[in-house]
Symmetry: C2
Subunit: 295 residues, 2 copies
């Protein structure tokens, strides 16, 4: 199953769109407009519509595994269907699963998220490194063989992130120690574009840390949460990017709630009106990020 490295596929799409926008797919059923119906059928229709719009405006799709799992095994089946649909649209899929386990168990998660688990074939997956390098290795090994990507939680965007991640040890915060586990490995997923598909999750809500993280991981693509609904600006979101002849580059910025549930879409009473509102929100995020990368 040889394919182009994930980094090359992702960066090519970012350059084509002119903006590093990742569409987060978080099917909060209680927020899906009433005309979609209820429960699993509503989530199914909503995910199908968002995937189609993300294929126009987004460089990648990031389904949040938790919200599919919360729908039971049928939700997991829906997740597989969404990933398959995104792939037919050539939209790279980063599965936000934040898995973390050891040895053979981590290999099970790698297979479950990136394939060859039956029906599952995301292009990249998010993982936690709290358990150390041996919890990362099975994901790296599979990604290396199959042209997939792995995004490791380094500095997250939530209010409580600093409680553990920000502790200082040997004058370095814990998140920097996690980065130092990754630094010797980035070359394994390096693309021809010069960027690595061994990615770091680096929050838009902590732009100073993102800039410092860039020094530690010069070639890792960043997956940036916290833009939009969580309060960070487009400029904050690209604080860890690098200046290139093409503008700022080096990652992908996620928008979930701000593009899935913008106020005009929540007021929409028909599918065409809803599509227009969601499409406008995605286009605005894309334009903001494009401008921030050219600033």
């Amino acid at each position: 199953m040889t394919q182009e490295p994930f980094a090359d596929r992702l960066v090519a799409r970012v350059r084509m769109l002119g903006a590093p926008l990742c569409i987060g797919l978080d099917p909060y059923t209680e927020q899906i407009p009433a005309f979609f119906g209820n429960g699993l059928p509503a989530a199914t229709a909503f995910c199908h519509e968002i995937t189609a719009l993300a294929a126009v405006h987004g460089a990648a799709l990031k389904p949040q595994s938790a919200l599919f799992e919360a729908l039971g095994w049928e939700g997991v089946r829906l997740l597989h269907a969404v990933i398959a649909e995104a792939r037919t649209r050539a939209l790279p899929v980063m599965l936000d699963a934040k898995r973390g386990d050891i040895g053979a168990t981590a290999a099970g998660y790698a297979a479950a998220c990136l394939g060859p688990a039956p029906g599952m074939e995301a292009d990249a997956v998010t993982i936690s490194a709290y358990m150390g390098a041996d919890s990362i290795e099975p994901f790296l090994a599979l990604a290396e063989q199959t042209g997939k990507g792995v995004a490791v939680l380094v500095r997250t965007s939530n209010p409580g992130a600093a409680a553990i991640q920000g502790l200082l040890s040997k004058d370095m915060p814990i998140w920097a120690h996690v980065a130092s586990l990754l630094a010797p490995q980035t070359q394994r997923l390096l693309g021809a574009c010069g960027w690595s598909g061994l990615m770091a999750v680096a929050a838009a809500t902590a732009p100073d840390e993102a800039a410092r993280l860039r020094q530690l991981l010069p070639d890792a693509l960043f997956l940036v949460p916290g833009y939009g609904a969580q309060g960070a600006s487009a400029a904050d979101a690209v604080a860890g990017f690098a200046r290139t002849p093409l503008g700022l580059e080096g990652g992908i910025v996620n928008a979930s709630r701000s593009v899935l549930f913008p106020a005009p879409a929540q007021r929409a009473r028909t599918l065409p009106a809803w599509r227009e509102a969601v499409s406008a929100a995605m286009a605005q995020a894309r334009a903001e990020l494009a401008a921030a990368c050219q600033a």
Copy 2:
């Protein structure tokens, strides 16, 4: 959905059995004996058999989510069926999922693992605290309302565990900082037995740390991995337990591979011979742990 607190249900079963044995259910399909068949049907039959034997010898069942997920959505459906079967046998189920995410997403995982996600209703779940207190809170809140348990990764059993968990900050290892996030919360899941269902994962392979962790978390039940196939003795496994009039108490020790795939069972050619071999391995682990708790 009021029920007895998880800590009380678990401790009652440990006392009844006389040993704190947890049976880990890790359906590595390539290790399931040939007479079970292949693929999902073999995993289904194997899980059914192990659950029946665990209900005899184990105080709890700990299915490893990764290995079910690696079987695709049908594997997740099988996981639900296994949990339902264990519940009909009054065998508490600790889902080993090691989830970790923020805010509303963590609430999604809590619902997905502990219910009310359709078909899912484990009694407890393992989670990661790398993202801080706000990533734990939704699990705690749900567990508090529904009599469930939550086991947080503190000090894990894998070779690379110390890389992050063992870093010193303010003269305390990171795992102790994680414990300090939990300490103010244990009372929320406290049972009448005096133990809390806010549990700490504390490896048998690090007995000294387990004993120190007991000082930090005097009333938290420990979930102890690393016994058996990972090399730790029964004495090491209970190093973090507390002396009580009933013997050492304060947690549950997991055995997975050593009781799922013991050599005599792997040589068995028939189901009755396999049952006898697995039952003997479980009985041996139970006896070893009972003796260690009375030493």
